[in-house]
């Protein structure tokens, strides 16, 4: 049997950036700004290893497909050792239920070692490498590498430059650790580490209050979801226990147990609650409605971090969890039945909520943040309607074009708008000053709104096509509506940033900064990268005007633009329909889990029909046209929202973010805080005060009596007598009180020894 070195040693991939974290943290001062190159080198080597896993995984799949060894001996040996009976079932299921794509078995590569054991329970830590994990390894290391490179320029001269790169390394390491996790408990550890690192990086400029507030908000909101993760992970243990008799966190076993329990027909409620708890975790981490409110605030962090969070690490962790233990969701929420289910509903709601909010943002990063929320809604909805491959594919393409857009926004702010992100006041007309950034941003936008032949077009299309094939027609139209809105708000964003007149011509650079610092204090209308200290060091900023960025910023943009177009071509049924080249349908072959129908639900890939791309394109055209008329040509006049009541009310609702923040801080926190305080006050005023008053009066009466007869005559006599006696005794014992601590210790030692001696003798 062939050994796959890169797949067997995938544990190195998270390890290298983790080492880099400690090296930068401990020795960073000695290296100065060169510390960035340690981070860059570590993530670079992780990237090389990840590419190795991609190549070897593809050859592993090909070898399995072309009848190399049925069951893939290499993986099977590992699997059989881990859990005796299940693997045979998996192989049977594969041969029985083989309709086209699921007809062969390519086992995941699993290696593990004991983490700890106690009282018969053994917990492993290890790697579980399959198509999904390999795809994620590639995406995370690629985006992280580009972000590292970009940051060397973007954060030049920052006050905590080394600290930033250390945190960036740990961030990548935790996400990679989460990706390769072989059991759900290990996944939980990676998950929490990712949350911690995002907290550190969002609050990177913590000296300013809004930034540290945003970091706290991100941490606490995702923590709400983490309660669900903890409960869900514990329940996965019992899912396996119910099925096999011994509990386990192992992902393969969890998946098989979920399918098996569902086939047996009992334990539906256990599966449902497990799925619901894990869904809560996804809602918190992946910014799903109604816990999405932290994601826009997270824009307080440096822009490259936003790109990393939105494209590759933090928020996609939730989607990854959903894909990883998909059988739990599939069986627990009855995804196979069509119609409507919890997961699809959450995704669909998020999709529309996020897109709606993107219309009223003046901050370019916030537009992109809400767009991420909306796109994550697509992914979760995709998982919810049974479009597993399409959802994962959307994660894959979204990573590239969203990173492209975020880094593009960073470039605009860094070189064109004095580190501001305010589209209305500091941008406009930048097309002329920064043609290269403009071009890459337009490509990213095209991919996001799904212009035909770009990456986003194919992935979004596949989700919608699978939704209708799986009888989720309602969600197909939700998705189309989302596509219209996406096209519209991105048109607005591009118009405000790159077209029209340049509005950022503040005469005095310093003044501009001060006024923005003041703005950030009173709300989140103006997101803002606070690289002030840094910007003073920039020789070129002295020239004032907007200009094109230099290579460390543009290089990643070029690469991401390339991927924004061509990453979609490995899963393009439309192109396959026309050209019949194999490359156009490789993604499901490489990434789908080929473990048989007892290990994973059978994934359907619908036949291509022209109606889907035509509908999606039409949605995009409608969106762009509407936005063009509304924002660009001002076809309805300047201030339509002020003149039309219904539109005005809608805008007010959106500007206030559906009042969700009000709901959380004022209603929920206020409602629990206020009544408790009032109840306590009432009890204080009426109950305790009265008790005290009457007790006091009674006591005063009693006291008079006691004083006259008992105290003066009886008690005083006793006291005077005993005081004399005590004084005499005290004089004696004060001889013992030498005031020397260690003398006391010696006394205690003697006494205890005596007691111990007595105990030993009497026994």
């Amino acid at each position: 049997m062939k050994h796959y070195w890169f797949l067997d040693n995938a544990w190195l991939i998270p390890l290298i950036p983790a080492i880099s974290y400690f090296v930068i943290l401990l020795f960073g001062k000695r290296f100065g700004e060169r510390a960035a190159w340690i981070g860059l080198a570590s993530i670079g080597s992780a990237w090389v290893l990840a590419c190795g896993t991609v190549v070897q995984w593809i050859s592993h799949v090909n070898a399995s497909e072309h009848g190399g060894e049925p069951g893939g001996e290499h993986g099977a040996v590992e699997t059989i050792r881990a859990f005796g009976r299940s693997i045979k079932l998996a192989a049977e299921g594969a041969s029985a239920g083989g309709e086209g794509h699921a007809s062969f078995v390519a086992n995941p590569i699993i290696h593990s070692t004991t983490w700890f054991q106690n009282n018969g329970f053994k917990l492993d830590v290890g790697i579980h490498i399959d198509g999904l994990a390999v795809m994620m390894l590639f995406v995370v290391t690629t985006i992280s590498l580009l972000v590292h490179f970009y940051s060397t320029e973007y954060l030049k001269g920052d006050r905590r430059f080394n600290h930033y790169f250390a945190a960036l390394s740990l961030f990548s390491a935790s996400m990679l650790f989460l990706v390769v996790a072989s059991n759900t408990l290990q996944l939980l550890v990676g998950w929490e580490l990712v949350g911690l690192c995002s907290f550190m990086l969002i609050g990177h400029w913590w000296e300013e209050k809004p930034n540290s507030n945003a970091a706290l908000k991100a941490f606490l909101t995702t923590r709400t979801g983490d309660i669900g993760l903890l409960a869900g992970v514990i329940m996965t243990f019992f899912v396996v226990q119910r099925y096999t008799g011994t509990g386990s966190f192992d992902i393969t076993q969890v998946n098989q147990a979920a399918i098996g329990l569902s086939l047996d027909g009992n334990s539906k409620s256990l599966l449902f609650w497990c799925a619901a708890a894990l869904l809560l975790a996804i809602i918190g981490k992946s910014g799903q409605f109604p816990l999405h409110t932290w994601l826009p605030d997270a824009m307080a962090g440096p822009t490259p971090v936003s790109a990393l969070i939105h494209a590759a690490t933090m928020v996609v962790a939730g989607v990854y969890l959903g894909a990883r233990v998909y059988p739990i969701f599939h069986e627990g929420l009855n995804i196979g039945d069509g119609g409507i289910n919890l997961m699809a509903a959450v995704g669909g709601a998020t999709l529309l909520v996020g897109a709606g909010l993107a219309f009223v943002q003046n901050d370019i990063k916030k537009v992109l943040a809400y767009s991420t929320i909306s796109q994550l809604g697509y992914m979760v909805m995709g998982l919810g309607v049974g479009a597993w491959s399409a959802a994962i594919f959307h994660l894959f393409t979204h990573a590239f074009f969203k990173a492209n857009l975020f880094l593009g926004a960073g470039s605009v702010s860094h070189s064109g708008a004095h580190h501001s992100f305010d589209m209305k006041n500091d941008m406009g007309g930048l097309r002329k000053f920064m043609p290269k950034t403009f071009a890459t941003f337009m490509i990213g936008t095209a991919a996001l709104i799904g212009v035909p032949l770009t990456a986003g077009f194919f992935s979004k299309d596949e989700i919608l096509a699978t939704a209708s094939a799986n009888e989720y027609t309602f969600f197909k139209y939700v998705g189309l509506l989302g596509a219209v809105m996406t096209a519209a708000y991105m048109t607005r964003c591009v118009y405000l940033t790159f077209f029209g007149e340049y509005r950022g011509g503040h005469a005095d650079h310093g003044d501009a900064h001060d006024s923005h610092a003041a703005h950030t204090a009173d709300g989140d209308d103006h997101g803002h990268d606070h690289g002030h200290a840094a910007s003073n060091d920039h020789g070129h900023d002295a020239n004032g005007g907007p200009h094109e960025s230099n290579f460390p910023i543009l290089g990643p943009l070029y690469f991401l633009s390339f991927m924004s177009i061509f990453a979609g071509w490995i899963f393009a049924p439309m192109l396959h329909h026309i050209f019949h080249w194999e490359i156009f349908e490789k993604f499901p072959l490489w990434v789908d889990p080929h473990v048989g129908s007892r290990g994973f639900p059978i994934l359907e890939h619908p036949e291509f029909a022209w109606i889907d791309p035509i509908l999606a394109t039409a949605a995009g055209v409608v969106g762009v046209t509407l936005a063009y008329l509304f924002y660009w040509r001002k076809a309805y006049g300047q201030n339509i929202t002020e003149r039309n009541g219904a539109l005005g009310a809608g805008k007010k609702l959106l500007v206030n973010k559906y009042y969700l923040d009000v709901l959380y801080t004022d209603v929920i926190v206020g409602a629990t805080k206020g009544p408790i305080a009032q109840a306590a006050y009432w009890v204080n005023q009426n109950v305790i005060d009265n008790v005290l008053r009457y007790t006091g009066k009674g006591a005063a009466g009693a006291a008079k009596f006691v004083y006259k007869y008992i105290d003066q005559k009886g008690v005083d006599g006793i006291y005077n007598g005993s005081a004399a006696g005590t004084s005499a005794l005290g004089g004696l014992s004060s001889k013992l009180q030498t005031g020397r601590l260690q003398y006391y210790a010696l006394l205690v030692l003697f006494l205890l020894s005596a007691v111990a001696f007595a105990v030993v003798i009497t026994n």
Binding site: N118, N119, Q737, T738, G739, R740, L741, Q742, A745, L749
Partner: protein
């Protein structure tokens, strides 16, 4: 099972700790000696837990560790205040309560 060796080690550490507590002329070292005694106790707990195949010993050891951490915090704070007031950390100088 090597229970005896563990107990001997523990007794030795405990004795060392007591000796330190009684003789050292710096309060911080007295505190450190107390830690030594706690460690000795922990070794006993874990050793007995392992011998009796019972997790309670380990759990107790964890509790002792946690409480020892708290105790050191309080202890060092007291030492600091003593030093501020008396300009000395010698336990013999702390004799205000002398009879």
């Amino acid at each position: 099972m090597m229970l005896n060796q563990f107990l001997l080690l523990s007794a030795f550490l405990f004795g060392t700790g007591i000796y330190g507590v009684i003789t050292r002329k710096h309060t911080v070292l007295v505190l450190a000696s107390i830690e030594l005694m706690l460690v000795a106790v922990n070794i006993n707990l874990v050793a007995f837990g392992a011998t009796l195949n019972n997790a309670v010993g380990q759990v107790f050891a964890l509790f002792v560790l946690a409480i020892a951490a708290a105790e050191v915090g309080v202890g060092l704070a007291i030492v600091l205040l003593i030093y501020r007031n008396l300009r000395s950390a010698n336990p013999d100088d702390v004799n205000v309560l002398k009879g």
